[in-house]
Amino acid sequence: MFDPYLAKSLRYILSVILLTGNSLPLLPSDLQEADTVFSRKEFSAEELVRGERLFYGLAYPAEMTVDCEKCHNTKWSDSLNWNPDALEISVKYLNKSGADLQAVLLRPKGKKMAEVHNNFQLTNEDVVLIKAYMDRFVDVGIKKQKPVVTNLLLLIISFVVFSISLTDLIIKRIFRNSRFNLMLLTVSSVVMIWILAAGAIAFGRARDYSPDQPVKFSHYVHAGQNKTDCNYCHYSARSAKSAGIPAGNICLNCHFLVRSGTRSGVTEISKVTGAYDNNEPVKWVRIYRLPDFVFFSHAQHVTAGEIACESCHGDVKTMDRLYQVPDLSMGWCIKCHDTRKVNLTNTYYKTYFSGIYNDFTAGRTDSVMAAVTGGRDCGNCHY
């Protein structure tokens, strides 16, 4: 194989030739110095987290850095994103040195890329940490890879195949044997129906919806690392219909003192404190949203139903970026009602479901599902 040093030098020369004036070529001395940094292999957990923060553009003030994830998906996205996702990049650079990544990051070659990767202020160490974080994706993978793109392409292809074979079947030009045509017709129409049906079912659903928030708030940091109870901020979940988006003063309970994050610095927190000082609310983007004709009560599920938050919202503790876990379809609700046990020792149920309760105490039934106590009545949610 190539001698790594030779390759590096060649690349360097090439980059000198090709570079636009925008960024300065690295000097050999930089290279030399960087080499030691780039050759690191072991990283502490702390550093990996730092890498993650860097990747999500959380480590520096917003005007100084860019959120890599904006262009390079770390998870399935329903938008048409032609940029390589994090997995693709990490696979590409897995066995390459951090310097290669740095070269692309700081001195990109393509025109479009140069526009985006403009004026990054990342230290060598930062680049290494980003790479260290990204290497993780090779193992973890990405949840789903742009299914819409493939689906759309597949749909177009099957439509073309369908049209050609149908035309051919009628006019008979290419294939001698019409059975082959019929087979093509069947396969392509099944594929088309499948994709369209899947699309129609997903229409209006927002599983995995994870919009950009005005403040880069991490549930991972708050609920995971700092182990804040969900009910601390979403205090009305136990008693009211809505769980509530915490008001500014609740944020300030802690952030009155905590003015800078260990990894995120002051920028994001200052957005919250600044908004509070200016008497303006933070305009979060809502993720979990039910249609207006669905009446969902958190109190019913959290207090009466004794369901853990994670059952619906997923493992929020691990989510830096919050995303919608279930698709919130009616089928999803019903399936849960069908399988969720009711706490029959609640006096309410004892009183009004006495028949069932007696069966329960006598051991005739071992459990009663929510569907039996009204979980399938339309009017319980729609009125």
Partner: protein
């Protein structure tokens, strides 16, 4: 023309055609097909065409459709999502009758039509060329398999006395 392996005999009326057919059979000639502008009665027997099994297929598919429809409705109302409707029981048998019937008819009808198309290899094909454009108008054609012994001349002899328009 000579190297064709069949001979077509043209008539302009069904009666001479039937007469010819009978005579050809008596002479043990291979009759490949008879092409007519409308269904001529008696021809099936002469050609010993077996009665088609399309109705049997129709029956089977019809029964299948009916059973499917009935099963589906029962499943929906008793298992999938039972709803209390008008105080009726979930298994509302009389309500299932109309759709069961309709689906039986639909499946039977479509399967029979499909059977006919498949068995007769009827399909849309714009490159199709009819044997003779007069067949759908007023010509009756008997197609006879030809070999060394069966030539146009020999057939003309066999069919002497019957009014023939043409032998090709």
């Amino acid at each position: 023309m000579d190297n064709k392996d069949y001979i077509s005999v043209y008539f302009d009326d069904e009666d001479p055609m039937l007469q010819a057919l009978r005579r050809l059979k008596e002479n043990n000639l291979t009759i490949i097909d008879v092409l007519t502008p409308f269904p001529v009665h008696g021809i099936d027997k002469l050609l010993s065409v077996k009665r088609t099994r399309i109705p049997v297929g129709g029956f089977i598919f019809g029964a299948l459709g009916g059973i499917l429809a009935f099963w589906f409705m029962t499943w929906v109302f008793t298992v999938s999502y039972p709803l209390i409707i008008g105080g009726k029981p979930f298994f509302a048998l009389p309500s299932f009758v109309p759709i069961t019937f309709e689906m039986t008819v639909l499946f039977a009808g479509l399967s029979m039509a499909a059977g006919m198309f498949l068995r007769s290899k009827l399909k849309p094909d714009i490159r199709f060329k009819p044997a003779d454009e007069r067949i759908t108008d007023n010509m009756f054609v008997i197609v006879i398999g030809s070999n060394a012994n069966t030539t146009r001349e020999s057939i003309r002899t066999v069919l002497s006395g019957i009014s023939i328009i043409e032998i090709r």
